[in-house]
Subunit: 230 residues, 2 copies
């Protein structure tokens, strides 16, 4: 599965959040595509990029309940009607669409009665409408609230969750999570081969052993449930 991250931020070098996410994205095999850096937008080329990827992510900070103008410019130029739904080619259908949004407000304000008085899903509805039009599958929005207040552990958790959002198979089930972590461990440990990292192998083997134990446990529970149902 190939992932394209379409990032919009007018001052990306000054954004701690975006720089942090960039580090995470670099560890994954994804295409990072910053729209404000495109000096001469080639619509055909952008459309090729969309066609080549299976998961399309819009990533941006929330400015007045929407993406910055840069993403709207990209949308209005690249997403021609024919490309999205007009010519029957179904260029985007069955691809996955997700949003990574950051906000300086606490998440709890995004609800009826909160200071923002609107939910994240309501804010994203216009983007979901594009995805619906293109017959894409919509992923749950990945919201990053108040990155600046996160401690190191929270940031590490964010990094892993973000990486999973970029490349883990959807839906986010236990088995899909396990498969993603196992793959990640194996890939990372390859890099330690020169130094003969025995610890790494122990971690990976322990992980696999635990996963197998869990599967065994699940089977046992299923058998008990079956017995109860009869």
């Amino acid at each position: 599965m190939k992932t394209l991250v379409i990032v919009s931020h007018p001052e990306i070098n000054n954004s701690q959040t975006q720089q942090f996410l960039l580090q995470g994205a670099k560890l994954q095999d994804v295409t990072w595509h910053h729209v404000e850096e495109i000096s001469d937008l080639d619509v055909a080329q952008e459309q090729v990029l969309l066609r080549e990827n299976d998961r399309i992510i819009f990533q941006f900070p929330l400015y007045w309940y929407a993406a910055p103008e840069g993403l709207k410019h990209w949308e209005d130029e690249v997403l021609t009607r024919n490309f999205v739904y007009g010519d029957g080619d179904d260029n985007l259908s069955d691809k996955e669409f997700g949003i990574v949004v950051s906000t300086g407000m606490p998440l709890k304000e995004f609800r009826r009665g909160g200071s923002e008085n609107i939910t994240i899903d309501q804010i994203m509805a216009p983007y979901f409408a594009i995805a619906d039009r293109a017959k894409m599958k919509i992923l749950p929005t990945f919201t990053i609230a108040q990155f600046q207040y996160m401690d190191e552990q929270q940031q590490m958790q964010l990094l892993i969750d973000y990486q999973r959002f970029l490349t883990q198979k959807y839906p986010d089930t236990l088995s899909n999570r396990q498969a993603w972590f196992e793959q990640e461990f194996a890939d990372r440990f390859k890099n330690f081969n020169d130094t003969n990292c025995t610890e790494c192998e122990t971690v990976l083997n322990t992980f696999i052993q635990r996963r197998e134990d869990l599967e065994q446990l699940k089977n046992t529970i299923d058998l008990i449930k079956q017995g109860e149902d009869e």
Copy 2:
């Protein structure tokens, strides 16, 4: 009451709809403010303009379920947090906020199950959220669907409804409508003074007479209802 119409359209001269609306706006005492024509955005000046007006209208064609990038640029620059809700000055509070949106799709497609599968209100939620944040009063959205298919009579109706949206007192009650039409008649007929337009006066007097008849009728109905309730 002073009205500011903030218009966003990247090719306004080629837009039949916008040119038509411009003719209507010219007949009203409103400020027409086309954001794509602003070459050097002066944030302080724009904020003065907002402060000076009582009704703020965003007017734009629907591009991918939102305004064109030009309006987003204006929003992100002009609507500083302090200005909208930060400094306790309540610069915009109790002003009226309305949207005039045009679309090439039939109105019936904007509902669950329609080809757009999203309502106009859902599309506008991010703009309403700004208005809520600024403690503004939200007017019902004025939607223009498929202007290009309207016949002359439908266009005339649109023109009047649009003008009422710009300057008529809210809410859109019978008495507010009557007051608006009476004022419009009087204003327009002044222009005919030189030619001594007796027909104009007859129209105006008939209109006033009908309005008085209607008020009388309403009083009678109220009395009957009162009798029934006792």
